[in-house]
């Protein structure tokens, strides 16, 4: 059979028999893996909420938010942070995005045979500092060692738990038409900083990862107004993927304005060079908030007075339709779809 153009029944390119790197990128492939394999297997309502942390009823009106995160970043140390800080902040943030007061973390370490203890000590100390900054305690842990070649030095998994005040309902399904979309600061810093630190693409830049604990920022925002409907930190997969998830969960359209998106010049330049879109690059110290319009200004003011929210701004709004879609008004006044990230971000030549 040569090249034909008639109708027939072909097979789509199979990526269901082996895991590829794209499955870990936080985009569509990850989502497919989770929804086709994990969800049906573990099925329960809390899991199916699909938010960063699970909200659990303990009875007698007590609710907690529970989250877990795995960290496999390479290199272990990068400008602005390290795997330890990333583990603490990432988990704190996941829990904080439910509006819970984050209290306790656990941390599991998978260590590669041959890792220098001094490196581990630096990582653990960094975790201590991050936990102190966030005001949380690391109360349980585990350590395993695997053979040389099997863990890139260190892998860390962390779980976090926080207390949810009564009545707080913050989640991806809560956005309403008319709501305002706020972003706490510049996009793409973490992803570009790590990519530069890896060295494979050969570029240097002064960009630092933005990795930071955002629970105090969230607290300040909730103090300014309880009418915060959605909070999420756009980690891997970037803002584009995050907004798509929310639009899908809430069954709304989210429209953003390209002119409003804050991107550091160096991050923009790196994206130009590689053909990347800053909308899909990971952030580790930023949050997006979808809030009632009448309180948007007050919440923004509170953010700008708080550490990690100084550059907060409004980037868009929620519309009733088209449901589940994210649109962007481009800098030249056109409108286009913002899709989820598909697989891995690959530098392009075209």
């Amino acid at each position: 059979m040569g090249i034909t153009e008639g109708p027939a029944c072909p097979l789509p390119m199979p990526h269901h028999d082996r895991i590829i790197l794209g499955h870990g990128s936080g985009g569509k492939l990850t989502q497919e893996l989770v929804s086709r394999l994990f969800y049906p297997c573990f099925d329960n309502p809390a899991l199916r909420q699909g938010d960063d942390s699970a909200v659990l009823n303990l009875g007698a009106g007590e609710r907690i938010a529970l989250s877990t995160d795995a960290h496999v970043v390479w290199p272990l140390f990068f400008p602005g942070g390290d795997i330890g800080r990333l583990a603490v902040c990432g988990t704190v943030n996941d829990v904080a995005m439910s509006g819970a007061e984050v209290r306790y973390l656990s941390a599991g370490f998978i260590l590669e045979e041959g890792l220098e203890v001094s490196i581990l000590a630096r990582i653990v100390d960094s975790m201590r500092l991050a936990a102190e900054e966030a005001g949380v305690y690391i109360v349980a842990g585990d350590t395993k060692v695997v053979q040389r070649g099997k863990a890139d030095g260190v892998y860390i998994t962390a779980a976090g738990v926080g207390l949810l005040p009564a009545g707080r309902q913050i989640g991806g399904a809560q956005a309403q038409p008319g709501d305002v979309v706020l972003l706490s600061g510049s996009l793409g810093d973490h992803g570009i900083a790590v990519l530069a630190a890896r060295g494979e693409l050969g570029f240097e830049t002064a960009v630092s990862s933005d990795v930071a604990p955002l629970n105090h920022l969230v607290a300040a925002m909730l103090q300014a107004s309880p009418n915060i409907h959605v909070l999420r930190d756009p980690t891997r997969g970037g803002l584009g993927t995050t907004l798509n998830e929310i639009a899908g969960q809430s069954r709304v359209c989210i429209q953003i304005d390209e002119n409003a998106l804050p991107v550091r010049p160096e991050v923009a330049a790196a994206c130009e060079m590689l053909g990347f879109d800053p909308l899909y690059i990971a952030n580790e110290g930023k949050l997006v908030a979808i809030v009632a319009p009448q309180d948007a200004e007050r919440i923004l003011q509170a953010m700008r007075r708080t550490r990690y929210g100084e550059e907060a701004l409004r980037i868009g709004e929620v519309l009733p339709a088209p449901s589940g879609r994210v649109l962007m008004r481009t800098r030249i006044g056109g409108t286009r779809l913002v899709d989820r990230l598909s697989g891995e971000l690959l530098p392009r030549i075209c």
Binding site: G202, E204, T205, E272, M273, I349, C350
Partner: protein
């Protein structure tokens, strides 16, 4: 078919008998091969594609074109020929 990005040449050197340079994309630095722009000087701008400078950018030519476009635009404004800034309503969803 050609992701070519402007960058400023900030250093020029030879390596393995190849003319190379360090270029600045605007806060992002990388090495690039300058073999195809042997006349390049530090401070020149070039379009970089897969780590190679394709051609130098002609700043004077660029400025002239932009100035012409701007003056046509201003003239258009003066004559009351307003550019259409809103896309047609039916083109979204």
């Amino acid at each position: 078919m050609c992701l070519g990005v402007p960058a400023k040449i900030i250093e020029i050197y030879t390596q393995n008998s190849l003319l190379m340079g360090k270029v600045d994309f605007g806060g992002v630095l990388r090495e690039a091969c300058l073999a195809y722009v042997p006349e390049a000087k530090v401070g020149d701008y070039a379009i970089i594609h897969v780590g190679f400078a394709l051609n130098l950018l002609d700043e004077a030519e660029a400025q002239e074109t932009l100035d012409t476009l701007r003056s046509i635009m201003d003239l258009g404004d003066e004559l009351g020929l307003q550019p259409d800034l809103q896309p047609p309503a039916e083109s979204v969803a």
